[in-house]
């Protein structure tokens, strides 16, 4: 289950209860809270509970440090189609068949303990990733060679173009002189992290810790002097603290988002479409799925019978945006959206006639109660949703009414996050509302690879993460294999035919029924700091929990008073 979604959901969950607490929002209101000083940025990541000291960038429970203390070689902006930004690396190039990656490193960089950074550190980091199963999240199997102090060569057995964003953008270089002495890097919490990044760890307490600007940073000491991470109990506490002006940046729910900027003086809100909300279906009979949703006609009928405009305003405060049945983001990936799609984007209002036509052509007949049936079996489906995620619950309840109009009965099945996730991963569901999350770079390839490649799935009963739909289509698999052999810089005309094939297939099969693209909403204090990302200058994905995006933003902020 994507936590992106999980937090957005918790956000909405909060809204219900919060509204009470948040009537206060409008009234403003100050509080005898934290003393603030003008060059300290106070952030809340949405994570509930206290901090447990852990600055190991490869630990799943790392609390901070990715990008801010430890740096990647390049920064890949997933919010728009940008060239990678240089961090510790200055250039990278593939050889002709995609098996060798030459990386040039920045000169004159030092670790925060004064030692010099060089190619040995990079090679050490890559080797450690390869040799430590717990760190190797993308199956890295390349070998490294230090050419000279500023050049590293990584060789692969097979063309590995598509590993570059992970290797270059999501691998954080650690100092060899310290880490080589650590016996079990998996379980070391790096209590006093040494990195090359723009920030260093300051004071740590379980309820708050501070990052301090690194005066020796290679790009000059950041203007933002301190970042304080506070520990609150969840989105409601976050929204309250935001209303009281006690935090400067959070990503999460606020009630009455349309009037947020008017109600919060000096604050701005930004919504970025990123996670594609879908009704995942257990679609593959061969892998053990059962139920009416295994019939593509039913999935298409549901697709057409949704009234997305109504869903957006009732469930998502109009923060969601249109989705393409080919699952390329209509805005960011506009160039990838296939011309061969039947529908470039999903219909806004319901098209019940089309839905009925599809069902009738597939042999369904409307019963006396208005619900379609085939061979005596009523068209009745259950949809799983997590208890408390009120925006999803509102969405499926509204959908149930809309589909009822079109002769499809939808039963909403609420259960705890654990149970819903377990059911979804093991294939024990008919429909489940969820989101497809993006990959390491702004290329729809990663969504396709993760959610539509047969390699990412398992038969019902085993845990499939994340191809929950159990989708398997040879044409899609083949096109993905071809794409992985192609240099992403080879040009759109070479790669697009494969994207066309994939999109045409997944629109036709529709293992995930597209709903809308969910917006990730962040609020920040633009009265206290300048340099935030905006709709026109979206230099990083502005979610405070998104790493290393947050470090790009930290480095770009300036106290407004100066």
């Amino acid at each position: 289950m994507s936590l992106h979604a999980r937090w957005r959901r918790a956000r909405a969950a909060a809204i219900g209860t919060v509204t009470i607490g948040l009537l206060a929002t409008g009234c403003g209101g100050s509080s005898g809270g934290s003393s603030t000083d003008p060059d300290t940025l106070i952030v809340y990541t949405g994570l509930a509970g206290q901090w447990q000291r852990n600055y190991n960038p490869y630990s799943p429970e790392s609390i901070e440090g990715i990008g801010s203390i430890y740096e990647p070689l390049f920064f890949f902006n997933i919010a728009r189609q940008d060239e990678p930004t240089s961090r510790l690396g200055t250039e990278f190039a593939w050889n002709d068949d995609g098996t060798e990656l030459a990386i040039t490193l920045r000169e004159g960089v030092t670790w925060s303990d004064g030692e010099a950074f060089d190619a040995e550190d990079v090679a050490f980091t890559f080797d450690m990733i390869r040799d430590t199963p717990a760190f190797n999240s993308f199956g890295f199997d390349g070998s490294t060679e230090v050419v000279d102090a500023n050049n590293v060569l990584v060789s692969f057995e097979e063309p590995s173009y598509m590993d570059a964003p992970q290797l270059l953008g999501k691998t954080y270089v650690v100092p060899e002189h310290i880490w080589s002495g650590i016996e079990e890097p998996e379980t070391d919490i790096m209590a006093d992290p040494i990195g090359t990044g723009p920030f260093r760890l300051g004071n740590f307490e379980p309820q708050a810790f501070t990052l301090e600007a690194n005066p020796d940073y290679w790009d000059g000491e950041p203007d933002l002097k301190n970042v304080r991470y506070v520990a609150l109990s969840g989105n409601q506490a976050g929204a309250d603290a935001l209303a009281a002006g006690e935090i400067d940046w959070q990503t999460g729910p606020v009630p009455d988002i349309a009037n947020f900027e008017r109600n919060h003086e000096g604050y701005k809100s930004i919504t970025i479409p990123m996670n594609q909300m879908v009704l995942a279906t257990c679609s593959n009979v061969e892998l053990g799925c059962e139920g009416p949703q295994t019939d593509p006609a039913v999935r298409h009928a549901i697709f057409h019978a949704m009234d997305r405009d109504v869903l957006n305003s009732l469930a998502f405060q109009d923060t969601a945006s249109e989705i393409s049945p080919g699952f390329a983001l209509p805005e960011r990936d506009a160039a990838y959206v296939s011309a061969q799609l039947e529908n470039r984007v999903a219909n806004g209002s319901a098209d019940t006639a089309q839905s009925e036509e599809i069902l009738e052509a597939a042999g369904y007949q409307r019963g006396s109660d208005g619900i379609y049936a085939k061979d005596g079996v009523k068209l009745e489906l259950s949809v799983r949703v997590v208890t408390g995620w009120t925006d999803y619950i509102t969405a499926v309840n509204t959908m149930a009414e809309q589909l009822n109009e079109a002769g499809i009965k939808l039963n909403v099945n609420q259960a705890s996050w654990n149970e819903t996730t377990d059911a979804r991963n093991s294939g024990n569901f008919q429909l489940a509302i969820d989101s497809l999350y993006p990959g390491a770079s702004p290329d729809p390839y990663y969504v396709y690879y993760q959610f539509f490649h047969s390699q990412s799935t398992k038969p019902v009963g085993e845990s499939a993460n994340p191809n929950w739909a159990r989708y398997a289509n040879d044409e899609v698999d083949e096109a993905l294999e071809e794409l992985s052999q192609l240099d992403p810089d080879a040009g759109q005309d070479v790669r697009q035919p494969f994207y066309d094939t994939i999109q045409a297939n997944i629109e036709q099969d529709m293992p995930y029924i597209p709903i809308l693209v969910g917006g990730t909403t962040s609020q920040f204090n633009s009265g206290k700091f300048t340099g935030w990302p905006t709709d026109v200058n979206l230099y990083a994905f502005p979610a405070v929990w998104s790493r290393p995006d947050q470090s790009q933003i930290f480095a770009n902020l300036k106290p407004a008073g100066e």
């Binding site: 509930a48 799943p60 429970e61 997933i78 993308f138 999501k170 379980t187 304080r228 845990s463």
Partner: protein, 329 residues
């Protein structure tokens, strides 16, 4: 002596039963810690292939296929050594560290609030019971209504009025995080300032129960013959109320108080949630949400020990202060 031996034996059996349930119940829950970790990784924008899942199973050792019975015996063994394992929701921190970090806050806040509530409830209850039929009786419905209001609602209203609107109290956290921690007045006063409102909500919502119980016991005690005797002897009213009536009437409340002390360590999940207070209740919630069995077991263990311990102390004390309970028929 036999009385005490029997009591101790009973508590040992209860402890074993609690520990066993403590082991099995979390394992019947759906979900597993690997999925929770994967969720966190995805939230950071990681690419999640099948490899990641395997690597985390390796990391957490959740896939070693050890039979449940072996796990159970090694669990009991580790408990005796005080080793509660690693908290997967705070990997690689030890459960004992996580609990040690939160427990003092909870005991401080909920402990003081419970004590205040008890003292206030018993004193008021004694007075109200003594002057039954007077205007003071209206205190009973007033406080019971406050107890009957759902606690989360009451707490949210308090936050809205006293923190958000009036700004008298801080909104959240256990102290002003901009201050360095230490035993200095600035820090301590900040802790007190941050704890006042949460403590107030606990007192307001629980004082009614103590008051009602004490008042009713007072009323029935007053009709006892020895009160009449005391009055006939011409003792001062006040002396009769405190030394004769209240002293006997408070016995059941003392038992109740000892038991509620046991529950102090379980904290108040809702209080800590509403006020973002850094206690054990919010840790428990996190543990459940992350399928962190080790941490759940650790917290349940602490709660179990505290409740059993408090009960044991009451049982033993009660034998001393009320000799009637020791007599066998």
């Amino acid at each position: 002596m036999r009385y005490y031996v029997r009591k101790l034996g009973f508590y040992l059996v209860a402890l074993w039963a609690a520990l066993t349930l403590n082991f099995f119940i979390p394992r019947m829950m759906p979900g597993n810690p690997v999925d929770a970790l994967l969720g966190k990784l995805q939230q950071r924008g990681g690419q999640i292939g099948p490899e990641v899942r395997e690597s985390y199973e390796v990391l957490l050792g959740t896939n070693d296929g050890e039979p449940l019975w072996n796990q159970y015996f090694s669990y009991l063994g580790n408990l005796f050594r005080g080793d509660l394992g690693v908290a997967t929701s705070a990997f690689p921190a030890e459960v004992t560290d996580v609990i040690g970090q939160s427990l003092p806050w909870t005991i401080g806040l909920v402990g003081i609030a419970t004590l205040l509530s008890f003292v206030l409830g018993v004193v008021l209850g004694a007075v109200v019971g003594w002057r039954r039929g007077s205007w003071l009786d209206s205190l009973v419905p007033a406080t019971t209504v406050l107890s009957a209001v759902p606690y989360f609602w009451l707490a949210l209203i308090f936050v809205l009025v006293f923190s958000s609107n009036l700004g008298w109290f801080p909104l959240n956290l256990g102290y002003d995080v901009a201050l360095p921690t230490g035993w200095n007045w600035e820090f301590i006063s900040s802790v007190i300032e941050h704890g006042t409102l949460p403590a107030l909500t606990i007192v307001v919502s629980s004082v009614g129960g103590w008051l009602l119980g004490m008042r009713n016991m007072m009323v029935s005690t007053i009709s006892e013959d020895y009160i009449l005797t005391a009055q006939a002897k011409g003792l001062r009213d006040r002396r009769i109320m405190t030394r004769y009536a209240a002293r006997n009437a408070v016995l059941p409340s003392v038992a109740g108080f000892a038991i509620s002390l046991g529950f102090v360590v379980s904290g108040s999940i809702v209080t800590e949630q509403v006020f973002s207070y850094p206690g054990i209740g919010s840790q428990l919630l996190q543990a459940v949400q992350n399928s962190d069995y080790a941490l759940m077991q650790g917290i349940f263990l602490v709660i179990t020990l505290a409740v059993l311990g408090a009960n044991l102390v009451v049982d033993l004390l009660y034998g001393a202060i009320d000799p009637r309970t020791r007599v066998e028929n």
